[in-house]
């Protein structure tokens, strides 16, 4: 392991419409094993920051350095995505396969694993989130809490080093939330978590950064 940070964003600018920049000179550093809370008002650009980190959108100015390499183009981000798991706000966006096991195995299969390896990784990831035996369940018939856990499993199956969680406890009932938090608490990865759930942030993160007026502070 090197001591260089996992992610480093330098003076990142981004705007969907040029007159209203979402990020205006945002700096952010994430070190190995760090657990960071990312807070800010609705529409402040928290999700956009995640999307910049994995290259779903490209910055209009500034640099994104991930795992020691600067990323400028789509292709630069391919290795980054394999090592960074992004959990979406709406699990229905993330689970697109008919059955749970197919969805969880989708990432490993894309990474070139054999079917048997992919199946093993999927089973392992499902065990990790406490959903053993859910392999052949139909994804769209799962409860909201189960969908969130399966979505987490789809990410964990790719063995990421960093987790980016976009409002993971949003819309979950108390039991589902507690269950998710227990699972997340047991994970060793570095983590950045967007949330308005202060208790969850306090339980899972050590450092807090605030996104305001396009810049990060904290």
């Amino acid at each position: 392991m090197t001591t260089s940070p996992l992610f480093q964003l330098d003076g990142v600018h981004f705007a969907y419409e040029s007159e209203r920049p979402v990020l205006a000179g945002a700096d952010f550093v994430l070190h190995a094993t760090e657990k960071v809370a990312l807070v800010g008002a609705n529409g402040a650009g928290k999700t956009t920051l995640f999307h910049l980190m994995v290259g779903l959108v490209l910055p209009q100015a500034g640099r994104v350095i991930a795992f020691g390499a600067e990323c400028r183009r789509e292709a630069d981000f391919h290795p980054v995505r394999a090592r960074t798991g992004l959990l979406f706000q709406d699990s229905d966006d993330q689970l697109f396969c008919p059955t749970v096991v197919e969805d969880v195995a989708f990432g490993p299969l894309n990474q070139g694993c054999s079917r048997a390896q992919a199946r093993n990784l999927a089973t392992e990831a499902l065990d990790l989130v406490g959903l053993s035996g859910f392999e052949d369940r139909v994804t769209h018939k799962l409860s909201g809490g189960q969908k969130r856990l399966v979505a987490l499993a789809t990410i964990l199956a790719m063995k990421p080093q960093v987790l980016l969680l976009d409002e993971p406890t949003n819309g979950l009932d108390r039991d589902a939330r507690a269950r998710l938090l227990r699972v997340l608490d047991g994970l060793p990865q570095a983590l950045v978590m967007i949330s308005h759930d202060d208790d969850a942030l306090a339980a899972l993160t050590r450092r807090r950064v605030t996104l305001e007026n396009g810049r990060l502070s904290g």
Binding site: R81, F96, C97, P98
Partner: protein
């Protein structure tokens, strides 16, 4: 075919008690059999042969464990589509006149042709309901992929089956929200405009969701190819089924030529 696709969302998972024979076939065999049966039935030129195809079609329905009630209703829906054509054929095709009604002449040629169309379409529809209608849609998608259909088409098909439910839910929520504010469908400009907005919201929402889903897929390394996890092999049962089908087709061909 249209009955098949119209009812696809809800009715394609009938109770599967003790797995009927057709359910134990490899999905690919069922797709190929469906194509073969359709081609064979279409190829029949004589009425006796076309009528005889109803027998194997019924046998397939039995082997698939189709329930008579819903199956008959779907067949009736299909025939309902064609009723006008079928009824107009005897008046327009000419041939010897069987009877006259006012100034209209009911001809033998058209009667024969209508009977041919009716028997053939029923036989094909029944076979398709048996062979494909009982197949889970994702299984059908995978079978098509394995048969070498373009990955793009298969991805489109599998994704559609997955998100049809989500879309339906979205539509239901929007309509509920409209009704909660007193919306009642009427023939007024306001009503048409509101329905237009509803449709627009649905399209915009779907487009955005599609973008998010695609983003999620890219993050997990999707590059346009869909790798399948399940493995299927044609077994003894599949070959036996193919042989039985081939024998039936041979008999039909003999009957058609006699």
């Amino acid at each position: 075919m249209s009955t098949l696709t119209l009812s696809a969302g809800e009715a394609l998972a009938p109770a599967r008690r003790n797995k009927p024979l057709l359910d134990r076939l490899e999905p690919r065999s069922r797709v190929l059999a469906a194509i073969a049966v359709a081609v064979a039935v279409i190829a029949c030129r004589t009425l006796p042969a076309a009528a005889a195809t109803l027998l194997p079609a019924m046998a397939l329905a039995l082997l698939a464990g189709l329930r008579p009630g819903p199956t008959l209703r779907r067949l009736a829906a299909l025939e309902g589509f064609m009723i006008l054509t079928l009824l107009s054929l005897p008046f327009t095709m000419g041939g010897p006149v069987l009877f006259s009604l006012g100034g209209l002449h009911w001809g033998a040629e058209g009667t024969w042709r209508a009977a041919l169309i009716l028997t053939k379409s029923s036989a094909i529809a029944l076979s398709l309901l048996a062979l494909l209608g009982t197949l889970e849609l994702p299984e059908l998608g995978h079978a098509l992929a394995r048969l070498g259909l373009p990955a793009r088409f298969v991805a489109l098909f599998v994704l559609s089956t997955r998100y049809v439910e989500v879309l339906r839910g979205e539509l239901a929520r929007l309509r509920l929200a409209m009704r909660a504010r007193g919306f009642r469908p009427r023939a007024s400009l306001h009503c048409w405009r509101s329905l237009g907005h509803l449709l627009g919201m649905l399209v915009v929402g779907s487009l955005e969701r599609a973008e998010r889903v695609h983003a999620a897929m890219r993050l997990r390394g999707f590059d346009g190819r869909l790798h399948l996890l399940d493995e299927h092999r044609a077994g003894l049962l599949d070959w036996g089924f193919a042989a039985a089908l081939a024998a039936t087709f041979a008999l039909l061909a003999l009957l058609d030529m006699a």
